[in-house]
């Protein structure tokens, strides 16, 4: 029983690392632009699918990964430039619908390019499972967890230690004030979209060897990332990371102990409970709504 729990925990943390990266992307964009980007999951899918195609075309894996990340960043920047910028200051409902539209467009393009088939990437370092205290662990899981720790650390250092990162944070606190002290808000917006698209693409490439990818793969990943961001208290990047890990573990426990068919329902019921009773998130700071 204990071994089984340990196994669920390992699986949960692997998936949770992914949700954490996607949630971090949500938080970054929300901070910079007050927009919830429903196309975040599609960045994950695009990264994975592009890398898979490039590897299939004979590119070595590292090069394929870099090119896939760059292409996804390009898509993120285009989204910002052509959809978000023209509608800055629009109502929340409007921006939600615009990003949902963007997600559907990206999914539609992916359907045309890759069809409905599932694709997978070869594992980075073999498929031989590692036995660890009764639980088995795929080497790829270590890649996912390691990369997530590294990326979260880098983003954290970037936000807290570099001038550019601090400028990005300043935008999230008060955009008008940030503009007054000479921060170019548009550049910050692009930075946030590029960064989140890049994070999404990396997450997609990391997980592609474990879960197969298809044009639809981004929907649930994006929504779970959104859940992670909400649990973490929106606009709190590290809260989103914690929220992602929590969700991953919860999902693995739910799938293992109750039923795998209900795992999505368990996650969303949990998120609903958080929204009903602690709407500012489990790790967020309280803030009142202004009229």
């Amino acid at each position: 029983m204990l071994e089984q729990l340990f196994q669920f925990l390992v699986t949960g943390i692997t998936v949770g690392s992914l949700y954490a990266l996607v949630g971090l992307g949500f938080a970054l964009i929300y901070n910079a632009s007050d927009v919830v980007n429903f196309a975040q999951g599609e960045f994950v899918m695009l990264g994975a699918m592009t890398a898979i195609s490039l590897v299939a075309a004979g590119f070595p894996l590292p090069l394929a990964a870099v090119v896939a990340i760059l292409i996804t960043i390009g898509v993120g920047l285009a989204l910002e430039r052509f959809a978000i910028e023209p509608s800055l200051g629009a109502s929340v409902v409007t921006t939600i619908i615009i990003t949902i539209g963007a997600a559907i467009v990206l999914r539609g393009v992916a359907l045309l390019i890759w069809g409905k088939d599932f694709h997978a990437l070869p594992a980075f370092s073999g498929d031989t499972p590692i036995h660890l205290g009764g639980a088995t662990l795929l080497p790829q899981s270590l890649w996912v967890m390691g990369a997530a720790v590294l990326l979260v650390g880098l983003v954290r250092a970037f936000l807290n230690r570099t001038l550019l990162g601090k400028a990005l944070l300043a935008c999230s606190f008060n955009r008008a004030a940030a503009q007054l002290v000479g921060i170019n808000v548009r550049v910050m917006l692009r930075l946030a979209y590029g960064l989140s698209a890049g994070l999404g693409a990396i997450a997609g490439i990391l997980i592609a060897p474990i879960t197969f990818s298809s044009y639809e793969a981004g929907i649930m990943l994006g929504l779970k990332g959104f859940c992670a961001a909400i649990i973490g208290g929106f606009g709190n990047p590290m809260g989103a990371v914690a929220g992602g890990l929590l969700l991953g573990v919860l999902e693995a426990l739910g799938a293992g102990l109750i039923s795998s068919g209900y795992k999505d329902a368990i996650v969303f019921v949990f998120v609903l409970m958080v929204l009903f009773f602690e709407p500012t998130g489990l790790f967020g700071h309280k803030s009142a709504d202004r009229v």
């Binding site: 929340v92 949902i100 539609g108 039923s259 329902a265 998120v271």
Partner: protein
């Protein structure tokens, strides 16, 4: 203006089968258009007038459909009674959910309604013993209106057309009632509405329940008309499509929502040939309308037309 619009709809619905007798497109697509008009008009009350987004409306649509499907096939209930049970179920769920869910705003509300929709969808897929699971359930008997069985395409067209007109008429009346004015105040500023003595929680709860009832009503008709239901018809994408209809036509306009439902359903049926491109076109439409005509096609175009008309008139006077 209001009555004129309703008359245009009624005459249009009545003329179509006369002009194109036995036309598959008119009869079958017409029924589907009518059902989506009911759904969109109901959702518009919540989104357009009260300003509350719902990304989980397909759940209420599904509750109506599955209540009718399960009660008429497994328990041999009369179809009207089953429909009432579906309405009661959806209304009750909406009423219970309204308070905690409508306290949330903006993105939180979007997430909560979306989560609710997904939970209901998972239940439909997983409760195999009741719903038949992902394969759905068939052989639902035709709707029986006090002895008159709705079992031909033409009869269905008539029933749905009447139901659609009823929904539009109800919506127009709600909008102009005391509740409707309270809702518009809530959309403008919930806080200001409160200071003016509007019980905003009550107003929001009422409109949420009403819009759930519209959806469940359409769902019940849908189940009988299709004689088959499966969870696919009530997925997240359907909720998004309903939002698209409301937004496409123009929020806060009953005829706008109806226009959006008609446009998108007809587009959907015409694009069947280009199946692979449908998603792309759907998404691009959503983005373009929201970026360039955020008030919606119907409202945007009719405002433009009014402005042009005024310009022509004033020109005539000054000459």
């Amino acid at each position: 203006m209001r009555l004129a619009g309703l008359v245009v709809f009624a005459v249009g619905a009545a003329l179509l089968p006369v002009l194109f007798p036995d036309n598959y497109f008119v009869l079958v697509v017409g029924v589907s258009v009518g059902l989506y008009v009911i759904l969109a008009v109901g959702l518009n009350l919540l989104m357009g007038y009260a300003g509350q987004i719902s990304l989980g409306h397909a759940a209420f649509f599904g509750m109506g459909a599955y209540a009718s499907a399960i009660l008429t096939t497994r328990f041999a209930w009369p179809s009207l009674l089953a429909m009432l049970a579906g309405l009661a179920l959806a209304g009750l769920v909406a009423w219970v959910l309204a308070r905690p869910i409508l306290r949330l705003r903006g993105h939180y509300l979007a997430m909560a309604t979306l989560g609710f929709g997904i939970v209901v969808h998972v239940l439909m897929v997983q409760s195999v013993a009741w719903t038949g699971g992902p394969d759905g359930m068939g052989s639902i008997p035709p709707l029986n209106l006090l002895g008159w069985s709705v079992d031909t395409d033409l009869r269905w067209y008539g029933v749905v057309a009447v139901a659609m007109l009823l929904a539009i008429w109800l919506s127009l009346n709600i909008v102009d009632s005391r509740i409707g004015r309270a809702l518009r105040a809530v959309r403008g500023s919930e806080f200001a509405a409160q200071t003016l003595g509007v019980d905003t929680t009550r107003a929001k709860t009422q409109v949420f329940v009403v819009s759930a009832l519209f959806a469940a009503f359409a769902g019940s008709l849908f189940a009988h008309q299709q004689a088959f239901v499966s969870p696919d018809s009530f997925s997240l994408m359907v909720s998004v499509e309903l939002v698209t209809m409301v937004v496409l036509g123009g929020m806060a306009s009953t005829f706008g929502a109806a226009f959006g439902a008609i446009t998108l359903t007809v587009l959907h049926e015409s694009l069947v040939v280009f199946e692979d491109y449908e998603m792309l076109i759907h998404g691009a439409l959503l983005m373009l309308v929201m970026i360039f005509l955020p008030q919606g096609l119907f409202v945007g175009l009719s405002q433009g037309a009014r402005r042009a008309w005024r310009a022509i008139r004033f020109k005539g006077i000054s000459e």
